[in-house]
């Protein structure tokens, strides 16, 4: 049994459950937990517990929560989990740009079980949570070393949130100097779209640079765009293509020459840990996604952390409170009058910072560098193998090595067989591989797919992944209709695009579902 040793292909079949929505499982009166009655002494002291709330905060009716017993709840979520694929189940090289590295289980164990973490409330007196503040402080020292910048905040709850924070800091900096003409931010087509979207939300006009023939952001275009109206540049390097821009200093220098601030989107810094730093490239701000490069799980849009770092001159604008250490005790300092204020309640998602602390402590400085080297090595090995698969095209930077990821293209496969990237993507699941990431919008590279075999995967994992792509390419050339009919062994089949894109057909809550369906 086991994987075919010759082809490296698996015989996979996913579970498919006709599982209802949990609200539909509700049986009035059924309970998962019988909450113990309060002891008489407690009742005497606090009454019924909610009586102290003002009347307008008290519910007149009980909330319409599903009433389901524990065992059924457990089965429900196991069914759903069997219908998904993720890093713990599959070789998750698929999610290029996302750095789906292994998150050691011991980290989750401590974050979710250690009473020093789970039983602490953020409004406690800081002198009673010195350990937590120490971890914040130490991770800040680590990231200062990794980036070369001077101060960090861990308040933002995700990568785009950190970029929003950076844009807010840029605005605050210019405003503090009375410079109100600076209304423009420059970004690039292959930077993450949040580098355009978040400054726009902050109130900036956004100017995007197209790639030039070599795939680098067009430097001449940037020079033409720069002026006394430029507030800042917000860019990635390496970009989504995996191409590192060796002339990044020139871009930064040109921006500084007109008085603009340079912000480095390092959401995915996996290729440059211990190799290259934001400071040496001349950047004034940067951010890291602790849930990518530093191993914490992404949490399905759940608890994540975008760590924003700044140079000294931008420190007054960082969110408050800031964690500080006076040599004996750790403090929360709110006293920064020029701060942009809070970007999130309390001081961010501590469990992510904790996992980052553990991951860095397990690796040490040399280990971080080794992780970067392995991730680039893995990617170069994989690129070489994928380049030989019929139908694959790799745009830009011919003959040059990429860093940690590559944006590939099935352009030729599509022309030759009619099978495009969406078709291949659907077929992947039949081999037990998670859907891959195509590209952000718009598709500058046609029929794109973006892969990132970070340091967690070994040669065997990569070989299996490549074997699957090669097999699908072979199938497409021999029997394109078969590929177009995929998936055959997955939990869900071919959802039509309009159904997914139509806001009328998207329900984010049970109440909304009932409302839109007109049942209530």
């Amino acid at each position: 049994m086991g994987r075919d040793p010759q082809t490296l292909l698996r015989k996979f079949h996913q579970a498919r459950w006709d599982e209802p929505i949990i609200f539909e499982l509700s049986v009035p009166g059924e309970r998962g937990i019988l909450v113990p009655q309060a002891e008489p002494e407690v009742v005497q002291e606090v009454g019924n517990g909610v009586g102290v709330l003002p009347g307008f905060l008290q519910r007149k009716k009980a909330p319409a929560l599903p009433e389901v017993n524990q065992m059924r709840v457990n089965r429900h979520y196991y069914h759903l989990s069997q219908e998904t694929l993720g890093t713990d189940v599959t070789i998750d090289i698929s999610q290029g740009t996302c750095t789906m590295k292994y998150s050691p289980k011991v980290q989750e164990h401590i974050a979710s079980r250690h009473p020093g973490i789970t039983e602490v409330h953020p409004l406690q007196d800081p002198c009673t949570m010195q350990g937590i503040l120490e971890i914040y402080y130490k991770v800040e020292q680590f990231l200062k070393e990794v980036s070369g910048l001077d101060y960090f905040t861990f308040q933002p709850g995700g990568g785009a949130h950190a970029v929003f924070t950076n844009a807010s800091i840029i605005r605050a900096y210019h405003e503090a100097r009375g410079d109100r003409k600076r209304t423009e931010i420059i970004t690039t087509m292959f930077s993450h779209p949040c580098d355009a979207a978040t400054p726009n939300t902050v109130g900036f006009k956004v100017i995007t640079l197209m790639p030039d023939e070599s795939g680098y952001p067009d430097l001449e275009a940037m020079k033409a765009a720069l002026s006394e109206r430029t507030a800042g540049i917000m860019i990635t390097n390496p970009e989504d293509t995996g191409i590192y821009n060796p002339r990044i200093e020139e871009y930064v220098r040109a921006a500084h020459a007109v008085g603009a601030i340079c912000s480095y989107d390092q959401a995915n810094a996996n290729a440059v840990l211990g190799i290259a730093r934001a400071r040496e490239a001349g950047f004034d701000l940067c951010h890291f996604n602790l849930h990518k490069t530093f191993s914490a799980p992404h949490g399905s849009m759940g608890p994540a952390t975008g760590a924003t770092g700044v140079k000294e001159f931008l420190a007054p604008y960082l969110p408050v409170p800031r964690v500080e250490y006076d040599g004996q005790k750790y403090h929360l300092n709110h006293n920064y009058p020029e701060s942009i204020g809070k970007v999130r309640s309390f001081f961010g998602n501590f469990n992510v910072v904790l996992k980052t602390y553990m991951w860095i402590m397990q690796h040490g400085a040399a280990g971080l560098k080794e992780a970067a080297i392995c991730s680039v090595l893995n990617n170069n090995y994989m690129q070489k193998k994928i380049a030989q698969i019929p139908g694959v095209v790799i745009r830009y930077a011919e003959g040059k090595r990429r860093l940690e990821q590559v944006r590939y293209s099935w352009e030729k496969l599509y022309e030759d067989t009619g099978c495009g990237t969406d078709d291949v993507n659907r077929r992947l699941v039949d081999f037990g591989i998670e859907h891959y990431w195509t590209s952000h919008h718009p598709w500058v590279v046609p029929e794109p797919f973006t892969l990132e075999p970070c340091e967690s995967y070994n040669k065997d994992d990569i070989d299996e992944y490549v074997a699957v792509l090669k097999e699908i390419s072979r199938e497409a050339y021999e029997d394109p209709e078969f590929v177009k009919g995929a998936p055959y062994n997955a939990a869900s089949h071919k959802p039509l695009h309009p159904a997914i894109d139509d806001p009328e057909l998207i329900f984010v809550s049970w109440r909304q579902y009932q409302k839109k369906k007109g049942s209530k």
Partner: protein
Amino acid sequence: MKKLGLIVNPVAGMGGRVGLKGSDGIEILEKARQMGAQPESPRRAVEALKAITSAVKDIEILTYSHEMGEDEAREAGLNPKVIGTIESGATTPEDTIRAARDMKEQKVDLLLFAGGDGTARNIYAAIGPSIPVLGIPAGVKIHSAVYAINPRSAGEAAVLYLQGQAVNIREAEVMDIDEEAFRAGRVSAKLYGYLRVPELKKFVQSVKSGARSEKAELEGMAAYVIANMEPNVLYIIGPGTTTRSIMEQLDLPNTLLGVDVILNRQVVANDVGEEELYRILGNHPAKIVVTAIGGQGHVFGRGNQQISPRVIGKVGKDNIIVVASKDKLVALQPSPLLVDTGDPELDRELSGYVRVITGWEDMVMYRISS
């Protein structure tokens, strides 16, 4: 069962390989044949039709006889219903027009046609934007934006549309160049109208990216242009659906194919000619709003020749506002936007980087070249 109309202009593209810059007119066609030109169009039509073979059980194909569709369909392994006949070896534009009208009458769900700009014009003349159409690129001149990128993607898109997977319809330009003038070295392009075309999958975002639709982008772009309009400045609004969205948001009457002039959000004149535009302009401060017209990305010199070199000269380079959707620019890259005003010196002056407005407070730096 969905109905697909099929029209192949079997002589489209013949002039191209022998350097005749087009195949319109019997004499040119004869000349092309004498120079050894081979029909390109049927081969490309077959290539597109092969993409349909797999879905054929749900699609009925209606076409004309012989090389105008029947032969190609059969070669691709399809079994079409022939609803009209032609004289083989002597097709004319009138055959295309007749066939298009018949297919409209038969209520086809989509009309797939192979040809070039001349064919698109014939289809437009016959049925206008009444039913959705899609072009298989087979002609010498492809300035019109009604064509898929290549024959196969035309077939793919047709299937997707008929299966209800590509439900968005966009308006696409029908343009043509005066071939005689073109052969004499002059370019005289005209915007003839708009046909309704299914949105192609090629550059539509995937499920996960959650991008805004092109329509929302255009609305943002129009709102941004309007919000920045200065009082007492003439705005010369060029042709096209992109610029039309500005007029529509202002709730003003407008000409899709012509040039309109507004002042303080009111119409000064609709569909002006060059002389009239120059006269209205006088010494008034003015701005020009244009978009990339046609498949090759011309901002001046194709379909908007009313905005002549002397008009542009008077308005000034700094007062030109270029608007376009990001999708349009991405489809164009790495080719630059083009200017061909007829005045080489002005073209050179207009060349360089421009901020193309792509949405609300959203721009792309793009290169203009002559």
